[in-house]
Symmetry: C2
Subunit: 172 residues, 2 copies
């Protein structure tokens, strides 16, 4: 099994995919990893739509300006935040909790030798509206991220993002 730190430092956004489909076991591992994330008062205010239908992936790629790479991805997850199930019905906590689940998902993708990229739906109203229309997402659910996933066509090179000047010691 791939080591944790190997995974976290290897993960990079992957925007070009082969057509090889994900296996059921891979999809299961991804969903279990996503749902293992913490959430405020353990409310788990998230839902996930799994898309492997070519026509739907193509419709999303066509409708979402920053998600053109979905046209060659064999699979995608649409992560939805559900404020009505969040602690204190908080929109902000629903978004944060679902973001944590998505980070688990992105790391699990890398751990399986797959690649993915977060394309933002929230907070852009237009993109959320397109996702709602294509996927039938209810009006009180926030489409947060559209995440195409597949076998990377080329090896992604992670950026070195360590910036010690963003670390404060003791106080700001």
């Amino acid at each position: 099994m791939k080591g944790f730190f190997d995974t976290v430092f290897h993960r990079a956004s992957v925007r070009s995919f082969t057509s090889v489909p994900l296996t059921a076991a891979e999809v299961d591992s991804l969903m279990r990893a996503a749902m293992a994330a913490p959430s405020a008062v353990n409310k788990q205010p998230w839902d996930f739509i799994l898309v492997d239908d070519r026509a739907t992936l193509d419709a999303l790629a066509a409708a979402l300006p920053y998600a053109k790479m979905a046209a060659e991805a064999p699979f995608a997850v649409v992560a939805c935040a559900v404020p009505s199930r969040a602690f204190e019905r908080s929109l902000e906590l629903a978004v944060i909790d679902t973001s944590l689940a998505c980070e688990n998902l992105l790391l699990a993708v890398d751990a399986l030798g797959l690649g993915a990229v977060w394309t933002a739906l929230y907070p852009e109203a237009g993109r959320q509206s397109e996702a709602r229309r294509i996927l039938g997402i209810p009006a009180d659910v926030l489409p947060l991220a559209f995440i195409p996933i597949g076998k990377p066509r080329t090896e992604a090179v992670p950026k070195d993002k360590y910036r010690p000047e963003l670390i404060h010691r003791g106080r700001w």
Copy 2:
């Protein structure tokens, strides 16, 4: 090195700590893991305050109702979201991106055999105000989470949070 899936499924909120301090190498690994998270257009709109001073940890524990466990933690990270550095200066993207960094941090904590718990500052104005006062955080920076970290006093048992009913296939 601990495996990725071992880590993601082992991680649980830890609220009771021994007084053993973190090593400099541990702190370095945690910060590098946090900053390896993705962010919109790679803006990295986050800053981290590292706190190991007993008086400051105690002041935070006293001021923050859900962070009493900090009174026995040897260390904490205060994760701050910085909208002025986020893509399109978006508050929402700053919060999401910093949340992703925090999830990397929480997982790295587990991978190192340490424990941590996310206590929310954002979106509660009162808690953010207390964190600003104690730590000197500027008014245009959002204190997002106060994360006490230390060696777990007892082994935390992860919850089984897998809920297949939250997975939709093809569309909602």
